[in-house]
Amino acid sequence: MRTFLAIAVLGGGVAHATVGSALRIANVAPDIPLIVVVLLALRRGPEFGCGAGFVAGLLQDAASGGLLGVQALTKAVVGFAIGTAGSRLRVSQPLVQVPGLVLLSVLEGLARFGLLQLFHFPAPFGELMMYVVLPQALYNGFLGAALVLALAWAERVKERTAP
């Protein structure tokens, strides 16, 4: 299980820069590490969510050549927040999953933008939201929901086949 978690966190962080591009639709790629962090935080709680977010974000920062620590911080916060609130949410419903992930992605984007503003990030907010954050948030929502459903189906199959 720990190996799986390590692969999920590390792989998610590194895979994003390479394999993630293959999932591009109209120049929009999903934020796979964010989805992985959210899914793990929902199952394992805020501590794990925070740690997983930090590691995945740090790897993502390193892999993308950006400022080291930006995504590490935002994803750690997202992991912590969703891990804390997860027990109170009905996350098994796609009607919650899709908008939930969209909202989380937007919040993460806003947090990242806010953090980068402290370091004089030059991109205009409107364009960034219109062409980067919102399309990616929508993609994350649908891909994440699909992953949740796939995981739920795999677990059901596993339970049925278990002796």
């Binding site: 590390l10 792989g11 590194v14 895979a15 820069a17 390479t18 394999v19 591009s21 293959a22 709680g45 805020p46 501590e47 925070c50 740690g51 930090f54 740090l58 790897l59 390193a62 892999a63 400022l67 080291l68 620590g69 930006v70 590490a72 911080l73 750690a76 916060v77 912590f80 891990g83 804390t84 953090l115 402290l118 370091f119």
Partner: protein
């Protein structure tokens, strides 16, 4: 538990902010390089897997495209083949009709064009059904010709069609003569679908293979000069009263689609209209 989590978040946030501050002050981080040592091989491996997967996918898509294109081209080829056949058929029909029209215009009598709508080729009877009948004022025993020569005569007139007795019908007889020698005789149909020219032995001394036999015009049923066939072989019957010559019909009865019915005065000679064929 909650305090531990908050503490972890605080530590993480502090580490991140320190990292960011250090970077913004223009110092390169050893941590970044250390992480790159870990991430670079993984990224390389993933990129290779990604490329290989994409390559397989691209190959599959190419194969699918080629298959679809192949199917499309096959359909296109099929369509063009049908189109070409149609054009060839139309061209052939056009040529036939042109020849028929030319013959119709050159004949010094009234004619009526007809289309073959049925064929009886059993052996007992050899006939064609033409789409002209009582409604078109077709009369029994009307001569029927094609651009190549004589086809036969109408033996049965119905409301919208007529039956043509073909020259090769075993019951068919036509008065004829050889163009070159003027040898008179009778052309008879045979059960095996061939034609023979029956003539008096004393008149046929100079008959040769290849001689053209045309209608004689005697009897007033068929105009004179319509090609019937060419002598294919001559039977030597010794001292018999009649001799026979096998004829190759001028008209391919199995292939004609359009004919002319000679509805006008049949007492005239029409050899001039067929001079190209004789």
């Amino acid at each position: 538990m909650r305090i531990r989590a908050l503490a972890l978040l605080g530590i993480v946030a502090a580490v991140c902010l320190v990292l960011l501050t250090v970077q913004m002050r223009g110092r390169t981080l050893g941590a970044s390089e250390a992480l790159a040592i870990v991430t670079t091989p993984v990224q390389t491996a993933l990129a290779r897997i990604n490329r290989a997967t994409l390559g397989v996918w691209a190959t599959y898509r190419d194969w699918k495209n080629v298959r679809a294109e192949n199917r499309r081209l096959r359909e296109e080829a099929q369509r063009l083949r049908v189109e070409a056949l149609r054009v060839t058929e139309t061209d052939a029909e056009n040529q036939r009709l042109r020849r028929l029209l030319a013959l119709k215009e050159s004949l010094p009598m009234e004619t009526m064009a007809g289309e073959i709508i049925a064929r009886e080729w059993g052996g007992w009877v050899r006939s064609l059904t033409v789409n002209r009948g009582r409604g078109d004022s077709v009369a029994r025993l009307t001569a029927v010709i094609a651009p190549d020569g004589l086809v036969g005569r109408i033996v049965d007139v119905r409301a919208g069609s007529s039956v043509v007795q073909v020259l090769t019908d075993p019951a068919s007889t036509v008065g004829a003569h050889v163009v070159r020698t003027r040898t008179p005789g009778i052309v008879e149909g045979e059960p095996r679908g061939t034609l023979r020219f029956k003539y008096m032995a004393r008149d046929g001394g100079g008959l040769q293979v290849g001689d053209v036999v045309v209608t004689s015009g005697l009897g007033g049923l068929f105009p004179g000069g319509i090609p019937i066939g060419r002598v294919r072989s001559i039977e030597d019957r010794g001292a018999a009263l009649f001799s026979y010559a096998q004829l190759a019909p001028a008209v391919d009865f199995a292939r004609i689609d359009e004919v002319l019915l000679l509805t006008g005065n049949a007492a005239r000679d029409v050899a001039a209209s067929f001079k190209g064929d004789g």
